[in-house]
Symmetry: C2
Subunit: 125 residues, 2 copies
């Protein structure tokens, strides 16, 4: 698989809320970094964080707005959409993925956490 194939498969697994499939595409020592928060290191910890994010979610759609691949790095602009109850939470994200072989070693997302929190609060009010 090319780095873009790996990232595409990973995002597809997240959209299907299939964490087994998603975690099969990261290394054991993967670093997952929601900037500027502390890195979440290791696939077990990443699974726990993703389970938390997805717990209230019934549908996931991550629209790729732009994507670039340079060597082993895939960079994308996304609109990450999460259906929670009757509402959709929509989050613009810039993501950087480093891929070694068939697995992601680094996943770093830049986004506005306040926008996530405000929408989550509105939807679940």
């Amino acid at each position: 698989m090319s780095p873009e194939d790996v990232v595409h498969s990973f995002i597809s697994a997240i959209e299907h809320q299939d964490l087994d499939a998603a975690l099969a595409l990261v290394t054991e020592s993967v670093s997952y970094e929601n900037m500027p928060m502390d890195p979440v290191v290791g696939s077990t910890a990443v699974r726990a964080v993703l389970e938390g994010y997805l717990a209230p979610v019934t549908e996931v759609e991550w629209k790729i707005i732009s994507q670039w691949c340079v060597g082993d790095t895939v960079i994308n602009e996304r609109l990450d959409r999460f259906r929670i109850g009757d509402g959709w939470l929509e989050l613009p994200v810039a993501g950087i993925f480093r891929v070694e072989g068939d697995r992601i070693t680094l996943w770093r997302d830049y986004f506005d956490m306040g926008s996530y929190v405000r929408q989550f609060t509105e939807i679940t009010a």
Copy 2:
């Protein structure tokens, strides 16, 4: 100038707080997008926004953590540092710049606004 040269010169102008030099490197209809806020469109509006950001700032340093250039697009991860009074405000940013000829037509930054606001409040308390 290559797209990377244009972005490098633009960032250097910002670091020198030389808005005339910075604005000479954007098109009249430039779109400046701090996601997920509404775009700031046009060089006059961009100048006003940058003047506001830089007003309390005595030093600016934008460290490039990673940078990629694909065609007319430059993507970077930065640590944008602003000296305000005795403190430094530090903001991790992912930026996307589209360049036409010698000028930037799109400047889109992804970052956590809450981190900016919290640090600004602490520094100026």
